[in-house]
């Protein structure tokens, strides 16, 4: 199921959640022609933001992706505090909550270098091309090669070299 990106972004904005869009959606927002079905965000881990994040997502009834249906799970600030990265499914689609990205860092490091874009009428922080490149290189998987090649092409076209 492809995520309902607008509903998720609207809900996060309504609760003033501090986050940076990362992963495939960040690549698309930066100009990539790739596809993805879920929304990945890196979130600030202070108590106020954890409460805001849990409240924003509550209407979508998030559960752990791939977990047995009868496994009790409640996404609240305490749950977020006790973990770091969560892969969730919800009524608005799949959503990954990341406290940290390998090779890049946490919310503060990402937000400091993020691009601010208008998305569905809200200003949102989006992982920069440089940070995306660093993360793809750090991940070191074959599938990241295609993304790295696209990043090079996006940069070349933005710089007017083509």
């Amino acid at each position: 199921m492809t995520a309902d990106f607008q509903s998720l972004v609207d809900a996060l904005a309504a609760k003033q959640v501090r986050y940076v869009i990362v992963g495939g959606v960040a690549l698309v927002l930066q100009g990539s022609a790739r596809t993805t079905v879920d929304l990945d965000i890196c979130y600030a881990r202070d108590q106020q933001n954890l409460e805001a994040l849990a409240a924003a997502l509550a209407p979508f009834r998030p559960t752990l992706r791939g977990a047995p249906a009868d496994l009790p799970f409640r996404l609240d600030a305490a749950t977020l505090r006790s973990g770091l990265n969560f892969t969730l499914e919800s009524e608005a689609g799949d959503l990954d909550l990341l406290g940290e990205l390998t090779g890049v860092g946490g919310y503060d490091q990402l937000a400091a270098r993020a691009d601010v874009m208008e998305l569905y009428g809200h200003p949102v922080h989006v992982m920069s091309l440089d940070a995306l490149e660093a993360a793809k290189r750090a991940a070191g998987r074959l599938k990241d090669l295609a993304d790295l090649a696209e990043i090079v092409e996006i940069r070349r076209r933005r710089d007017g070299r083509e």
């Binding site: 995520a3 698309v28 927002l29 022609a33 990241d144 790295l148 696209e150 933005r158």
Partner: protein
């Protein structure tokens, strides 16, 4: 943020990336919201096609 070159660059030097520059150019002409909505609609069309008997994309218009 400095980017250190890695094993990937050795591959890029020897193998063409195959990236479709025209697709990237088309995406860059859109606003961020338009980029995401274009991708989302494509994925929704794929999901719809998977639900049909023959797996073909539904007719538009």
């Amino acid at each position: 943020m400095g980017i250190r070159k890695g094993w990937q660059d050795v591959i890029f030097e020897k193998v063409p990336s195959g990236v479709d520059g025209a697709q990237i150019a088309a995406c860059l002409k859109l606003s961020p919201t338009e980029r995401l909505e274009r991708m989302r609609k494509f994925m929704l069309a794929l999901e719809a096609a998977r639900k049909t008997d023959d797996g073909r994309l539904p007719k538009s218009g």
